[in-house]
Subunit: 149 residues, 2 copies
Amino acid sequence: MTEQVADDLPACSIERSLQVLGERWTLLVLREVFAGRHRFAEIRATLDIAPNLLSARLKTLVAAGVLEARPYQEPGSRQRHSYHLTPAGWDLRLVLGALQQWGDVHRPRTVGPSSSRRSKSGQSVHVAFVNDDGVEVPTRDVEFVLNKP
Amino acid sequence: MTEQVADDLPACSIERSLQVLGERWTLLVLREVFAGRHRFAEIRATLDIAPNLLSARLKTLVAAGVLEARPYQEPGSRQRHSYHLTPAGWDLRLVLGALQQWGDVHRPRTVGPSSSRRSKSGQSVHVAFVNDDGVEVPTRDVEFVLNKP
């Protein structure tokens, strides 16, 4: 949602994010769209999610401006929608990347990670804190500071 | 959880992470512990969460090795536990930081963010993808690549 959110919403931005994302299925639906699955039937087949639940999650994500619904029509079928990441949706790559990395380290499997993060030039990348010059800062040196109201 | 997780678990590390974290309250409970609130009553007072729900969330986080329960006893009271981040818990700072940053940008409030990310030396920091040399890589240049099984 790029428009301003009303100020009766929670002051904490983690909480505002979780109002849209704080549910296991929601982030798994987004994982599917990132993986190139855009249609209801494709997403449903991979996730094995109940249709009414998937409908509800897609509706929330569209309403929040994370996904965009585009109409399409196959010959002989009714019009349907496919779901595509908006710029706000693309920015969630960092959230998914951070979750993926945490799972790789703290919930590992013997066979190793199923997926890796790479730059387009093939470099291995990871999620980290960086300063304004784009240089990594160790996570243990980072603090969350409350702003003066 | 630093010990190996059984291999009948989901191949996707995002999904394995969400098995522990994929619920709005869970991440908000962790936010409270990061903010220095360690006791049941303190966390409950800030979050306004039902006691049975908070109990269940704390139990999940302790079982997953994200929080450690330490006994304490106030004079005249029964023994209670306070909850502290394990190393796996501290590593979730990146996940919370990524959620915070996304909320600041895509769910903004007119009064601005309630909290900022800073290094101990006072530098402003943000969550980003970096390469193995610790240099930021633009998010749009990052791809998730499936590893060969």
